[in-house]
């Protein structure tokens, strides 16, 4: 017997009779978009960020031209791994907040406040993180002031917003395990250690790290010097943030 409360032919009464199987099927099958491997390590010039260009959705390569190392202002960088939609919106919010603060208060926001601002955004993203559709695990580096007193510092976050200072390096995303293994090895037994490497050597190391991760992780986009396809690399040094384009990376690669 039909539900006496239901109107004849309304949506709720029709739904059990004519279920919509595709809806459930779709929701089970849909994989969320994810940006993969990013990392940062201290080198002689400052902090070097590297990242591949790949974004995946399940086993589908969604894009191979994604920018995941984002300059927030002239003293801070954020690298994103996880849901790009949310991570990029976080970066946009932080970029505006940092610039608004600097212009309105006539002084830059302190590094501690910037680190906390990103923590707060991650914590506010808790519902999407728990639903499994919008987790973000970013890396962040910044410095107070400029010139000799400026000391770049790397931070990494868990998706709930806890922040941790990284002594030497940090990595996030699906290929991060492979990269952390190599960096750990170099920190302990490398000669020179990454922190003692000058810029050309550090840039080559960053590209090789991504090549290594791409060997074992399908979600990490590789590096192909023969087609001038290199990692996204940015340097945070005492003089600010600088991007290293493919031409500069090719020069270092060839000189190696």
């Amino acid at each position: 017997m039909s539900d006496p409360r239901a109107m004849n032919g309304d949506f709720l009464s029709l739904l059990p009779k004519h279920p919509f199987p595709h809806l459930e099927q779709l929701s089970n099958q849909t994989s969320t978009l994810e940006a993969t491997t990013v990392f940062a390590f201290h080198c002689k010039e400052g902090v070097l960020f590297g990242g591949d260009h790949r974004a995946t959705s399940g086993n589908v390569i969604f894009s191979d031209s994604t920018e995941k190392i984002l300059e927030l202002d002239e003293r801070s960088i954020m690298a994103i791994a996880g849901s790009p939609a949310i991570a990029m919106e976080m970066a946009r919010t932080l970029r505006t907040a940092f610039e608004f603060y600097r212009r309105s208060q006539l002084q830059p926001m302190s590094l501690a406040a910037k680190v906390r601002a990103l923590s707060r955004l991650l914590r506010d993203n808790l519902p999407a993180t728990l639903q499994g559709v919008g987790a973000v695990a970013p890396l962040f580096a910044g410095q107070d002031g400029t010139g000799d007193k400026a000391i770049p510092t790397i931070y990494f976050y868990d998706p709930l917003g806890a922040n941790f200072e990284a002594a030497n390096y940090a990595a996030s995303g699906s290929g991060s395990g492979h990269i952390k293994s190599v960096l750990s090895y170099l920190e302990n037994w490398g000669n020179p250690k990454p922190a003692d490497m000058d810029l050309p050597v550090s840039v080559n190391l960053a590209n090789r790290l991504l090549m290594t991760a791409a060997e074992f992780d399908a979600a990490t986009g590789g590096v192909k010097p023969e087609t001038k396809s290199f990692a996204t690399i940015k340097l945070l040094s005492k003089s600010g943030v600088r991007s290293l384009d493919a031409n500069e990376q090719m020069k270092y690669w060839k000189a190696n």
Binding site: E71, E74, R92, T93, T96, E99, F100, R103, S104, L106, V241
Partner: protein, 239 residues
């Protein structure tokens, strides 16, 4: 008072005279469109006169520091809200002045029972080429005019700024470097400040890059910046 139009007009007139009288101790500020970008220049004694508003926008102002601050904060908030909600390309000087700053100043000026905003200002936007630059002279009553010559002067003394702007327009050559332009602006600044426009507006034999006992603030809205931010303070000792 509002029921009596004559008394309202009289009150407005008194208010205008009061503001002009209050800001007459201020010193002039300049904005000039150059091939390198838009040059903003002011001379002060401790208090800033030139400010960054948004990626491509700057403000030069004189008057009561509190009122300058109010104008500055309003401009920054409006620009950042627009930039965040849309994009930085959507933040334009024309919209900023027409829809945010000018109505606020006019409204404040006509509220005769509340304290007036005592601020004279110039706002500037750097474009990809000098012909796309925008410079607007914004008055305390909300009235505003765009500079067609690429030069604007804000002076506390009524009627003198057009003389100084005209002299700068005639004297500055296309190929002049920023140091030469700053020198001419400081010459005009001194002539305006000393109320000596007849004899003071002459090309100096030696470059003038400072005013004894004062701080020269020179800023370039750089046409070719390294990042998104075009605002760059110039060290006059390097010019």
């Amino acid at each position: 008072m509002h029921e009596e139009p004559y008394r309202w007009l009289e009150a407005i007139q008194n208010r205008r005279e009061y503001i002009v009288d209050q800001i007459k101790e201020g010193t002039p500020v300049f904005a000039l469109s150059r091939p390198e970008g838009v040059l903003l220049l002011g001379v002060g004694s401790g208090q800033s006169k030139i400010f960054e508003i948004f990626d491509r926008h700057g403000l030069a102002a004189l008057g009561n520091p509190v009122d300058i601050e109010k104008l500055r904060q309003t401009a920054i908030e409006a620009a950042h809200t627009e930039g965040f909600n849309r994009s930085s390309d959507d933040v334009t000087l024309r919209r900023l002045v027409s829809f945010s700053l000018s109505p606020a100043l006019k409204n404040s000026f006509e509220q005769i029972f509340s304290p007036p905003n005592m601020v004279e200002s110039i706002l500037a936007e750097v474009g990809p080429t000098p012909s796309k630059d925008a410079i607007v002279r914004l008055r305390f009553d909300g009235n505003h005019e765009y500079s067609s010559s690429g030069i604007a002067v804000a002076s506390p003394v009524w009627g003198t700024e057009s003389i100084a702007a005209e002299w700068l327009r005639e004297t500055i050559n296309k190929g002049d470097k920023l140091g030469d332009v700053i020198s001419l602006c400081l010459t005009a600044w001194k002539a305006l400040n000393d109320d000596n426009l007849n004899d003071g507006l002459k090309v100096p034999k030696k470059k003038v890059l400072n005013i004894p006992g004062k701080t020269v603030e020179a800023v370039l809205l750089d046409r070719k910046p390294k990042g998104n931010v075009h605002y760059r303070s110039l060290d006059t000792s390097d010019l």
